[in-house]
Symmetry: C2
Subunit: 128 residues, 2 copies
């Protein structure tokens, strides 16, 4: 599993739309993004183009319009970013991360309870 291409912050916003709605045209991407951002459509086109160049997106011509599909999966990308984040800041250890969150009171009681029940579920999963 070689490293996936680097996706910048703005490009990632584009990818979130593509992952959700692919196959999707330039115009549709632009429409969706304009609901939550104020980028110029030109800017969005540039981002799409760069994603194609990087090998993150591919497209097919449908008459005059391009329709895009992702070449890499969202969960793979997020997985890679998560790993690199954990390595950088917590020595690759998620327990260290959680522990530091708890120590700095960044988790509410209900979040902690959510985590507990998640972990007990995954306990049962292992049992079967």
């Amino acid at each position: 599993m070689s490293a996936l291409p680097q996706i910048s912050e703005a490009e990632y916003e584009v990818m979130k739309i593509v992952w959700k709605y692919a196959p999707i045209s330039t115009n549709e991407i632009t429409e969706k993004l304009l609901e939550t951002s104020s980028w110029s459509p030109k800017t969005i086109q540039t981002l799409i183009k760069r994603l194609v160049n990087k090998g993150v997106l591919t497209y097919e011509k449908e008459s005059r319009v391009f329709v895009y599909t992702p070449l890499i999966q969202e969960c793979d990308y997020i997985g890679q970013e998560s790993k690199s984040f954990l390595d950088r800041f917590y020595g690759g250890n998620i327990t260290t991360m959680l522990s530091s969150f708890i120590e700095n009171d960044r988790l509410s009681e209900s979040e902690i309870n959510g985590l507990r029940s998640l972990l007990s579920e995954s306990f049962h999963k292992e049992e079967n």
Copy 2:
């Protein structure tokens, strides 16, 4: 709590040394970094300078040498980065993150156990 300055990846390597050993001189920083990297001392000096410009480091002259001290705390910085990471990839929800880790089998049984015992400790802490 206004946003802390942005620290780049290479700059962060410098900061790890400073946080650990401050107050520390340019030469000492360079020495430590050369144990684990192959940067030119010139490069390291540039990074230090940029950190000073950004307001992350301050220094005092000790005769001809500069001795540096951090202006921001490691845990504050890591906290900020963690928050922005969680927001970006998991909607700010650490339970979602953990859940996705478990789903994609990125956690070993022993890591899961570590998390469980961490959470039961923090349970007791809340009790007192």
